[in-house]
C-alpha cells in the first residue's frame, strides 16, 4: 500500500509539474486588456497607393452606468472612438493602429466593413487578402461602400444605437439594402470577380438629438457595381431594389404604382418575395428565366380605384407585377451594360450546365454583356387590403 500511495503522490506531483510550465497562459488576454473593434473603415490614403484604415472601438467603461467606484465617467463623450492610420497596406496600417493603442485589438466583434469610394475604385483585392487571412474575422461580416470618403461616416453619430456599427448591422439585417458579406466577395472571385455592394451616404443634417448641431446622418443609398474587383458604376436606389429581387433577399418593400385608371399613386407592401432563376442555353444565346413571386398588401390608394372590385383589383395586380419586372430589368440592364455579372448569374449556369459553363467560363464577362437575355416574370398576388375595405376617397366622391 505504501508503494501505491507513493505512486499516487508521484502522479499528483507529476500533474502539477506538468501544469507549472503551462501556467505561462500564453494566449491569455484579459477582457479589460482588449480593444474590441466593431467597425472597420478602409479608404485610399493621402499618398498615392496608400491605404487608410480606421477602426471604431467600443469603450466599455463609458457604456456602463457606473456606480460609485468607476470614477464618474458616463455621460461625457461618445461611448466609442475611431482610430485611423495610413499605411502601404491594410496590415501595416493595422500594426500602426495597434502600436498606438494601450490594449490589444480583438477582431471577434467586427461585423461591418466600410470601404471608401476611392479605394473601391482602385480595387478591393488587397483588402480581401488581409480580411480572408486573419482567422479571427468572420466571413459573415457585412461590407458596405460609402459615397465619398469614409471620414464623413466616421463623424456621423449613432443616434438610435449605442454604436455606429449597430446601425449598419441593422441595415443589413432589415434587408432594405443588398447585404454583401465577406463570403460573397470571396465567392465572387471564382466567377469573374463581379459583385454588388450596397452604398452608404452621409448627408449633413441638423440633428435635434445632438443639440441642433449640424452633423452627418448615416443613410443608405443605392449600390456599387464591382467589376473585376473594382467599383465601376453606381446603381440608383430603385435599381438596387430590383437587385434585391434578383438576389432573393427582399424581405419587405413598399412599391408604388400609378393606377391604370387615373394615374393616381397606389402603394403596396410586398412581402414573402421569392425569386427563382433558371438558365437556359440556346444556340447563340443564354436566357435566364427569372420568376418572382410575392404577396402584396395594400398600403394606400391615392386614386379612384376601388380595391374591393375584383376586376380592378386584378388590373392593379398586373400593374404591380409589371412594375417589379421593370425594376428587375433595370437592375440587370445596368449590370449588363458594363458587362459585370454582379448578381453572379454565372453560377446558375455552372450548376445547371456544367459542360457549357466550362467552355464559356473564361470569357463570361463578354458573353454576359452580349449574348445573355432575360426573361423576367413577376407574379404578385394582392391579398390583404388593410384594415379598411373602402377607400376614404370613395366617400368623398360618392
Amino acid at each position: 500500500m505504501s508503494a501505491s500511495s507513493l505512486s499516487r503522490i508521484w502522479k499528483v506531483i507529476g500533474c502539477l509539474a506538468i501544469c507549472l510550465p503551462l501556467t505561462g497562459c500564453w494566449s491569455r488576454v484579459e477582457i479589460n486588456d482588449r480593444a474590441f473593434a466593431t467597425m472597420m473603415y478602409v479608404d485610399k490614403g493621402e499618398i498615392e497607393g496608400n491605404v487608410k484604415l480606421a477602426l471604431t472601438f467600443a469603450l466599455p467603461n463609458r457604456l456602463i452606468p457606473s456606480q460609485g467606484g468607476g470614477g464618474g465617467s458616463g455621460t461625457q463623450g461618445n461611448p466609442y472612438d475611431v482610430v485611423s492610420k495610413e499605411g502601404k497596406n491594410v496590415a501595416i496600417a493595422y500594426r500602426l493602429i495597434q502600436s498606438d493603442l494601450s490594449r490589444k485589438i480583438n477582431w471577434g466583434q467586427l461585423r461591418v466593413i466600410v470601404i471608401g469610394e476611392g479605394l473601391a475604385k482602385r480595387g478591393i483585392q488587397p483588402l480581401l487578402e488581409f480580411l480572408a487571412r486573419e482567422p479571427d474575422f468572420h466571413l459573415k461580416a457585412y461590407v458596405f461602400i460609402t459615397e465619398g470618403e469614409t471620414t464623413h461616416l466616421e463623424e456621423a453619430p449613432a443616434v438610435f444605437e449605442r454604436l455606429p456599427s449597430e446601425v449598419l448591422r441593422e441595415f443589413a439585417k432589415q434587408r432594405t439594402v443588398i447585404n454583401t458579406s465577406l463570403k460573397d466577395l470571396l465567392v465572387a472571385r471564382y466567377y469573374g470577380n463581379d459583385t454588388i455592394i450596397s452604398m452608404l451616404v452621409s448627408p449633413k443634417k441638423k440633428m435635434i438629438s445632438e443639440k441642433n448641431k449640424t452633423a452627418r446622418w448615416i443613410g443608405t443609398g443605392g449600390a456599387a457595381i464591382i467589376r473585376d474587383g473594382k467599383m465601376s458604376t453606381k446603381m440608383a436606389v430603385n435599381e438596387m431594389r430590383g437587385g434585391l429581387w434578383i438576389m432573393n433577399e427582399l424581405k419587405d418593400a413598399v412599391i408604388s404604382i400609378h393606377s391604370p385608371t387615373d394615374g393616381g399613386e397606389i402603394s403596396y407592401r410586398v412581402v414573402k418575395a421569392a425569386t427563382k432563376i433558371k438558365p437556359e442555353v440556346r444556340k447563340d444565346k443564354i436566357v435566364f428565366h427569372i420568376t418572382s413571386k410575392a404577396q402584396g398588401d395594400l398600403v394606400s390608394v391615392d386614386s379612384d380605384l376601388n380595391p374591393s372590385d375584383p376586376k380592378q383589383h386584378e388590373l392593379v395586380a398586373r400593374e404591380l407585377s409589371k412594375e417589379v419586372e421593370r425594376r428587375i430589368k433595370a437592375a440587370l440592364d445596368k449590370t449588363q451594360k458594363i458587362g459585370a455579372d454582379s448578381f453572379i448569374l454565372g453560377r446558375y449556369l455552372e450548376w445547371n450546365y456544367p459542360k457549357e459553363w466550362k467552355q464559356i467560363k473564361n470569357n463570361w464577362d463578354t458573353i454576359y454583356e452580349n449574348q445573355v437575355e432575360f426573361d423576367i416574370r413577376a407574379s404578385i398576388e394582392v391579398k390583404s387590403q388593410g384594415t379598411i375595405t373602402k377607400s376614404p376617397w370613395e366617400r368623398w366622391a360618392g
Binding site: L22, R28, E30, I31, N32, A58, G69, G70, N106
Partner: protein, 540 residues
C-alpha cells in the same frame, strides 16, 4: 481491468472457506471475526463464583461504572450479576431477573433451581443466552447485557436488556421532502432496524450482524432482501467488511471508506442516507444497506452517479414534475462544476463568444477590477467556500450573522470598492446555488473540489482546458466502480432500460424492471399496467 482482476481474486478468496466471514443468524450476535487481541482465546470459566468475579474485577480494573451485585436466589443458591451501569434497563433487571430469582418457591431444591434457571423456566425474561466463556461474558457485558453467575455452575447466563440513552425518532434534517414520510434514522441501531422493518414486512429481509472496532465494538448490520439482491453482491460486501481492522468505528463513513473500490477518488462510491424509505427503496432495487450503530446515516451500496442526483422526493411527486426537476438538477450540476471556469475561459480567451452587447457590459464591469479573471474567480470562490463552511459549522444564530456579513462583503462592498466585478458576483452566486441543488452532499463536495482544478485549466487553456478537465474527470468516472457496478451505469455503459429512472422519472407503472447492477439478472418487478381512463375501463 485491474478492478476486474481484483474482483476475480476476491471471488476466489470468497470460495475459500478459510477466509469466509462467519455467518451469523439474524439478530443473534455471534462470534466476532475480530476480537480484542488480548482476549483472543476463550477462557473457560472456573466453577467458583468468587474466582470468576475476581477475574472480571481484574478485567474491569478501575472501571467505576461496573456493578457487581451478589445475592442469594431462591433455594439458597448464591448468584451475582455483573453489568455496566447506565447502559442496561435496570427496571427490567430488578423486576424480571433479581426479584424473580429471589422468590422462594416452596420445595424447590438448589439443583432444581439451577436446572430450571438454565432451561429458561425460572425467570420471566424474553431472551437469554448461556455461555461458559469468561471472555464472551466480558464482551457481552460491554455490549450492555447483564451477566448472571450462578455459584457452582460453570455456565453463565446473559440477558440482553441493554438500554442506551438515545434520541427519539425525529424529522429528517438533511434530506427534506414535502410529501414523503418524515421519519429519519437515529443513533440507535435497533430503532433504525425497526424503522426499516416497519416498511419491509417480509421474511426475505435479512440482517446479518458484525462487530467492528477493537475498542468500540460497533454493531454493523448487513441488510438485504433475499431473492432480490444478488448473492454475489452480499458475499462481496462481506468480503470487503472482513478486511476491516480498525480501532474504532464512530460513524458510517469509517465503514464507507473501508469498502470503497477506489480509495483515491473524490467521488463517493457508496451512498449514505438518513431516510428509512430511501434504504427500503434501495433494498427493493436489489442493493445492500449497511447499518452502523450509533450513527443516523446508513450506507447503501452499490450506487451509481445518477442515484445521487435523485432525491426521495422524486418518487412522491407527480412524475412529470419530478422529471423536470431532475433535468434542472443535471443542468445545475454542470453549472456548479463549470460556470466559473467557463466565465474565466470566455472572458480571457474567447471574448468573441459573447454577443456584442453582453460583451460590452461584461467588459465594462471588469474595467476597474485590478486582478486577472482567474485570480478574481479564485478569490471569490474561495471566500464563498469559507462563508459556506462557516455557516454550516456555526450555531444557527451565528450562522445567520455570518451569511449576512458574507453577503454584504462579497456582494456589495467588494463590487463597490472595485475589487471584484459585478459579473463575477453573479457567477459565484449562481454557482453556489447550483451546488446546493445537488441532493447528495458528498457528491456536491466532490464537484466543489473538482471545480478548482478545472478553473486552473480554464485559466491556462481556455475552453480547451475545460474540455481537458472534463475528459479527465469523465475518464475517472468511467473507470470507477461501486461494488463492481460501473459508476455511470445507464449512460456508460449504455443501459437504455435504466434511463427510465435517470433521464426521466418514469411513472411507477412503467418501472417494470429493477436497475441494472453488475452481474444482476435484471429481474422483473411486480408491476401494474398503465392506469386506464374511466371510459376505457367501461368499454373493456
Amino acid at each position: 481491468m485491474t478492478i476486474f482482476r481484483w474482483f476475480k481474486t476476491a471471488k476466489s478468496a470468497l470460495g475459500n472457506p478459510g477466509l469466509d466471514p462467519i455467518r451469523s443468524v439474524a439478530g443473534q450476535p455471534n462470534a466476532n471475526p475480530q476480537q480484542p487481541s488480548d482476549l483472543e482465546e476463550a477462557i473457560d470459566a472456573p466453577i467458583s463464583m468468587e474466582q470468576r468475579i475476581g477475574w472480571y474485577r481484574e478485567q474491569f480494573d478501575r472501571c467505576s461504572d461496573v456493578v457487581y451485585f451478589s445475592f442469594v436466589a431462591g433455594a439458597g443458591t448464591a448468584c451475582s450479576v455483573i453489568f455496566i451501569q447506565g447502559i442496561i434497563n435496570e427496571e427490567t433487571l430488578h423486576r424480571q431477573i433479581i426479584e424473580a430469582a429471589m422468590t422462594i418457591r416452596s420445595g424447590e431444591s438448589s439443583e432444581q433451581f439451577v436446572r430450571q434457571l438454565f432451561e429458561g423456566r425460572r425467570l420471566p425474561v424474553s431472551s437469554m443466552d448461556i455461555t461458559a466463556s469468561l471472555t464472551e461474558g466480558l464482551r457481552r457485558i460491554l455490549l450492555g447485557e447483564v451477566l448472571l453467575i450462578v455459584d457452582g455452575d460453570a455456565r453463565m447466563i446473559l440477558f440482553p436488556i441493554e438500554k442506551f440513552a438515545m434520541r427519539a425518532v425525529s424529522n429528517a434534517e438533511n434530506e427534506v421532502v414535502i410529501r414523503g414520510p418524515r421519519d429519519a434514522f437515529v443513533e440507535d441501531i435497533s430503532t433504525n432496524l425497526t424503522l426499516l422493518r416497519r416498511r419491509l414486512k417480509s421474511p426475505a429481509l435479512k440482517t446479518e450482524t458484525y462487530f467492528f472496532g477493537k475498542h468500540t465494538q460497533t454493531k454493523v448490520l448487513i441488510t438485504y432482501i433475499d431473492g432480490i439482491c444478488m448473492e454475489g453482491l452480499v458475499d462481496e460486501v462481506k468480503h470487503r467488511l472482513s478486511r476491516i481492522r480498525i480501532d474504532g468505528v464512530l460513524g458510517s463513513s469509517y465503514i464507507q471508506e473501508a469498502v470503497a473500490d477506489n480509495p483515491f477518488s473524490p467521488f463517493p462510491q457508496t451512498m449514505y442516507t438518513e431516510r428509512p424509505d430511501v434504504v427500503a427503496g434501495a433494498l427493493l432495487e436489489g442493493r445492500v444497506a449497511i447499518f452502523v450503530d450509533s450513527t443516523p446515516m446508513q450506507i447503501i451500496a452499490p450506487v451509481t452517479f445518477y442515484m445521487m442526483m435523485q432525491s426521495a422526493e422524486d418518487y412522491y411527486q407527480n412524475y412529470i414534475s419530478a422529471t423536470w426537476i431532475r433535468w434542472i438538477r443535471y443542468l445545475y450540476l454542470l453549472i456548479s462544476l463549470l460556470l466559473p471556469s467557463l466565465y474565466v475561459a470566455v472572458t480571457t480567451y474567447h471574448p468573441e463568444m459573447l454577443p456584442a452587447n453582453l460583451l460590452i457590459t461584461v467588459a465594462g464591469s471588469r474595467d476597474i477590477v485590478p486582478f486577472p479573471a482567474i485570480v478574481e474567480a479564485f478569490l471569490m470562490e474561495i471566500s464563498f467556500e469559507a462563508i459556506r463552511e462557516a455557516t454550516v459549522r456555526m450555531p444557527k444564530q451565528i450562522g445567520q450573522a455570518i451569511s449576512v456579513i458574507g453577503a454584504l462583503v462579497i456582494g456589495t462592498a467588494a463590487v463597490q470598492a472595485g475589487i471584484v466585478s459585478g459579473a463575477m458576483v453573479i457567477i459565484v452566486s449562481i454557482t453556489g446555488i447550483a451546488s446546493f441543488i445537488i441532493p447528495h452532499y458528498e457528491l456536491g463536495l466532490a464537484l466543489r473540489v473538482l471545480r478548482f482544478p478545472i478553473m486552473i485549466m480554464a485559466g491556462v487553456f481556455g475552453l480547451l482546458g475545460i474540455v481537458t478537465g472534463i475528459i479527465l474527470t469523465f475518464l475517472h468516472l468511467v473507470s470507477l466502480r461501486s461494488f463492481g457496478t460501473p459508476y455511470l451505469t445507464p449512460t456508460a455503459p449504455l443501459v437504455l432500460a435504466d434511463w427510465k429512472d435517470v433521464a426521466v422519472r418514469a411513472p411507477w407503472w412503467r418501472m417494470k424492471a429493477r436497475p441494472h447492477l453488475y452481474q444482476t439478472d435484471h429481474e422483473k418487478r411486480e408491476h401494474f399496467g398503465k392506469p386506464k381512463l374511466p371510459e376505457e375501463e367501461g368499454s373493456s
